[in-house]
């Protein structure tokens, strides 16, 4: 079974990559010198600075610091975030939930819309729906996410006042419990439709902004692979069997066109992850990305390390899963090993 070997091979490489990443990340945050800055307030004497460095073990040699950090990571101690004024692990879950809620809703929009759009266009190749889709695709790849977000804010928030920013209305937020940290889910669990509406309402613009680019990517891929599949013999064969176009498209062409699209969805995930940074800045979304940006500006190395490491691991995982799904879906691949 090539598939199993393939997965195993990947699983062996994975930890090596993660270690590699962790080293890169660590050295990144250290090359610039000691990350003590975030723990300092102004007007501190060098003696006081040394005290602080000692407190966070920043006076030890780098290998020791790396070991300590790596050990901490494995034991779930990610250090103290100066930006959040709390241990990273304490703030992380909520922010993660916020980011995931945003990323996944955007991803959901992107995948469903992208596939639909791609199919719609691919099936009507070189007719106007196709051209429109291509415009969407190209513009989606070129539109600066942060600019799109700002334009939407200018229109719907500042001028029309239709859309809110942030993640929820503080009073409504306080009105329900938050077991999952995903406000939409929490609201549903609480059976509170008002809260759910509020959550969705706050989610709409950011998700749209974030999803646009991804939609474009997926739609583009879906379209081209569908066009390719439609040129395959088996499509004619299906027609020759007397299948109606609807089935030729859905049952035969689209099914196979989806396979290459899956890989793109994997990449799109990375795209979404990156996108959350700017999207969260613009829409005041209390997630990881915003935290990261904040930490970058204020030199909160503990957070930066956590974020970069976490996202890359996530990214690696997702891509592994996607590849496996791909290999599983596309029997020709398995055949070819």
């Amino acid at each position: 079974m090539q598939l199993r070997d393939y997965i195993i091979r990947r699983l062996i490489v994975l930890p090596i990559l993660i270690i590699g990443v962790s080293i890169v990340v660590f050295s990144l945050t250290r090359i610039s010198g000691s990350p003590v800055g975030i723990y300092l307030s102004h007007e501190m004497s060098p003696a006081e600075v040394q005290q602080i460095e000692a407190r966070y073990g920043l006076d030890k040699p780098l290998p020791v610091q790396y070991y300590a950090w790596a050990k901490g990571v494995l034991q779930g101690d990610l250090g103290w975030s100066g930006v959040a004024a709390a241990p990273v692990t304490e703030v992380f879950p909520n922010k993660l939930a916020a980011t995931m809620e945003l990323a996944f809703s955007a991803g959901f929009v992107a995948v469903s819309l992208g596939i639909w759009l791609g199919t719609f266009a691919g099936a009507r190749r070189n007719r106007w729906p196709d051209h429109i889709t291509r415009i969407v695709a190209v513009s989606g790849a070129s539109l600066p996410l942060f600019w799109l977000g700002i334009l939407l804010l200018i229109i719907f928030w500042a001028n029309l006042g239709w859309a809110p920013i942030g993640r929820s209305d503080a009073t409504i937020w306080a009105s329900i419990a938050h077991p999952t940290g995903l406000y939409t889910v929490d609201a549903l669990l609480a059976g509170n439709l008002k809260a759910f509406g509020d959550a969705v309402w706050h989610l709409a613009l950011p998700a749209l902004t974030l999803g646009y680019g991804a939609t474009a990517i997926i739609a583009r891929m879906m379209r081209s692979s569908l066009v390719e599949e439609l040129q395959q013999d088996y499509v004619d064969a299906a027609r020759a069997k007397g299948l109606p176009e609807r089935l030729v498209l859905r049952r035969h062409a689209r099914r196979n066109a989806l396979i290459p699209t899956v890989t793109v969805i994997g990449l799109t995930f990375g795209f979404l992850l990156q996108g959350t940074i700017t999207a969260e800045i613009i829409f005041r979304w209390p997630g990881l990305g915003r935290w990261m940006a904040d930490s970058v500006l204020r030199g909160d190395q503990a957070t930066i390390m956590t974020y970069v490491l976490f996202t890359s691991v996530l990214f690696l995982m997702v891509n592994l899963v996607v590849d496996v799904i791909y290999a599983h879906l596309d029997r020709r691949v398995v055949l070819g090993g």
């Binding site: 102004h42 501190m44 500042a158 920013i165 942030g166 935290w291």
Partner: protein, 553 residues
């Protein structure tokens, strides 16, 4: 301090969330929103709530001021000291200050209870002060206590005594009302980790148990922090609970106030324009912050430490003419009318307006004088070849803007002059700023607020003071000893009139020997909904300068 940050990054989540469609309907804006709750949009997040761990001017101060009491306080509308936990303000006359001026006695109010229910005794006061001094956290301000205090003593349950190292005119104003001197619940601390030298107490940095009008309720980090009215308060109870929305962008706060979702906001003077003429909103603009915005000049640059592009010699600022030239070249109007939108004033070196000892008559740099600047640069011999100098500052705030104004001023004066503005991350700046010797020729920030002139002069003028040593003022003053002596003398002068004259004298001398470029003294501005009653600010209070307990709506 990030209080000026206008970057989108440092901004809150919920702030915007409340800006709903309905919020934009003027009808809504007229009636009172969130009755019984004061929603205050603050600028930056506390790093800690522990009086012993927070520096003056940091976010935590906002909360500590409301939750903790100190022995003395300053009234809402005067710089005069008033009793707080202590029943009387010690003076030589009422005998609470010993004749030699070394021993201060405080008679404590009885029946005061902490938020955890325990009663306040002199023991708690001693414990609180000793605690701060023992912990002596580098990020805290305990130094100011230990500098002055030789010993603390409990006379009886309700009498507390402090003995000073040397007689001081500024003890009450600089120490007793300082945030670090807040009285904390002994039991609460003991129950949660107690006191350990130079190790922060995690309970105290995330919670607060004081005797103040407000109880600490909950802190949703990066989102909001909530305070409840403390019903057993010894004084008059506060009438509104408080929710502090943390760190929204200035413009988001402005919009939130306009929409009536916020009752009071901290804001940048430059955003006041967006609030003018908005009905339902009152702009408060009185007095000035006691934190002059200044650019430091380093007279103690190590060889080869400067950034490669800098062409200035290490003794660049040793020449008083150069320092004067910078002070003349700076475009004060541009800074005041641009970034500060006209809210602010200029103070002489180095006593801010509003502080005892400020002398309106003493000469002040407050107008760009290109001719004079050119003349001085020529005299110093830098005019023809020009120079390149770097100034380091936190990126994205008023300090950076001040640097840009200086850049434009000098480069406009002579294209051969080049000023590189290194706007860096806060942490990088703080790190660089903490070096001794400092590896940059110039840096921009603002002064630490204080209630007594001596604090400023010690920190920013005295050759043996903190910055005097780091910046090597001794290399620049014509007669360092003389200046040092003048400041020390004024510090212990108990006769108010004499003392004032001495400070006026010092200001005159410093005009010719400036060690800073003081961009401006920023105006105190804030805005609130009309429905907020009893709104008042007091520049002598720790930031943000108002007490929620006095407000109603």
């Amino acid at each position: 301090m990030n209080r000026y940050l206008s970057r989108p990054i440092i901004s809150s989540l919920c702030v915007g969330a409340v800006l709903t469609l309905t919020a934009f309907q003027p009808a809504f804006a007229q009636e009172v929103n969130n009755p019984g709750l004061l929603v205050h949009a603050a600028d930056d997040e506390p790093t800690s709530l522990d009086p012993a761990q927070v520096e003056p001017g940091e976010g935590g101060e906002t909360v500590i001021l409301q939750v903790y009491d100190r022995l003395l306080d300053i009234g809402p509308d005067s710089p005069e000291l008033i009793p707080s936990l202590a029943l009387e303000v010690p003076t030589v006359d009422n005998g609470l200050i010993s004749a030699d001026g070394l021993t201060y006695t405080f008679k404590l109010r009885e029946g005061v209870v902490f938020h955890d229910g325990t009663a306040l005794t002199a023991d708690d006061v001693k414990y609180s002060w000793d605690r701060a001094m023992e912990m002596d956290l580098p990020e805290g301000n305990a130094g100011i206590l230990s500098d002055y205090i030789a010993a603390t003593a409990v006379v009886d349950d309700f009498t507390f005594q402090a003995t000073l190292n040397e007689a001081s005119a500024s003890f009450l104003n600089s120490v007793v009302i300082a945030m670090v001197a807040s009285i904390v619940s002994q039991d609460a601390v003991k129950a949660n980790g107690g006191v350990e030298a130079s190790v922060p107490n995690t309970f105290m940095s995330g919670n607060a148990v004081g005797t103040g009008p407000y109880k600490f309720s909950v802190w949703n980090r990066n989102e909001n922090l909530q305070l409840e009215v403390f019903d057993d308060y010894w004084g008059e109870n506060a009438s509104l609970d408080v929710r502090i929305e943390i760190g929204g962008d200035p413009d988001v706060r402005v919009l939130g106030l306009r929409a009536g979702e916020f009752d009071t906001i901290e804001t940048d003077p430059s955003f006041i324009a967006d609030l003018e003429g908005v009905d339902g909103v009152t702009i408060y603009q009185e007095g000035l912050l006691l934190e002059p915005l200044h650019i430091g000049m380093n007279l103690n640059i190590p060889e080869g430490a400067l950034p490669p592009e800098d062409t200035i010699p290490v003794d660049f600022f040793h020449d008083a003419r150069v320092r004067q030239a910078f002070n003349h070249a700076f475009d004060y109007d541009a800074f005041l009318n641009g970034p500060l939108a006209g809210y602010g004033d200029f103070n002489p070196h180095y006593i801010p307006i509003g502080i005892f000892g400020y002398d309106a008559a003493s000469p002040t740099y407050n107008k760009q004088d290109k001719a004079k600047a050119e003349e001085l640069f020529r005299a110093a011999g830098y005019w023809d070849d020009g120079f390149t100098i770097s100034v380091i500052t936190e990126e994205g705030n008023l300090f950076a803007l001040m640097c840009l104004v200086m850049k434009d001023s000098l480069e406009g004066l002579n294209p051969k002059f080049r000023v590189n503005v290194l706007a860096v991350a806060e942490s990088v700046f703080d790190d660089a700023h903490a070096q001794d010797p400092l590896e940059y020729a110039m840096w921009a920030k603002n002064a630490d607020p204080a209630a007594d002139p001596n604090a400023y002069l010690q920190a920013y003028v005295h050759p043996d003071g903190d910055w005097g040593q780091v910046h090597g003022f001794a290399n620049g003053y014509a007669d360092p000893e003389a200046i040092g002596a003048m400041i020390d003398a004024a510090a212990v002068e108990l006769d108010v009139v004499k003392r004032a004259e001495m400070y006026a004298e010092i200001s005159k001398v410093l005009y010719d020997e400036p060690m800073w470029l003081i961009g401006a003294q920023e105006g105190v501005v804030a805005a609130h909904r009309d429905w907020v009653q009893g709104f008042t600010m007091q520049p002598l209070w720790p930031r943000p300068g108002f007490k929620f307990a006095l407000f109603d709506k």
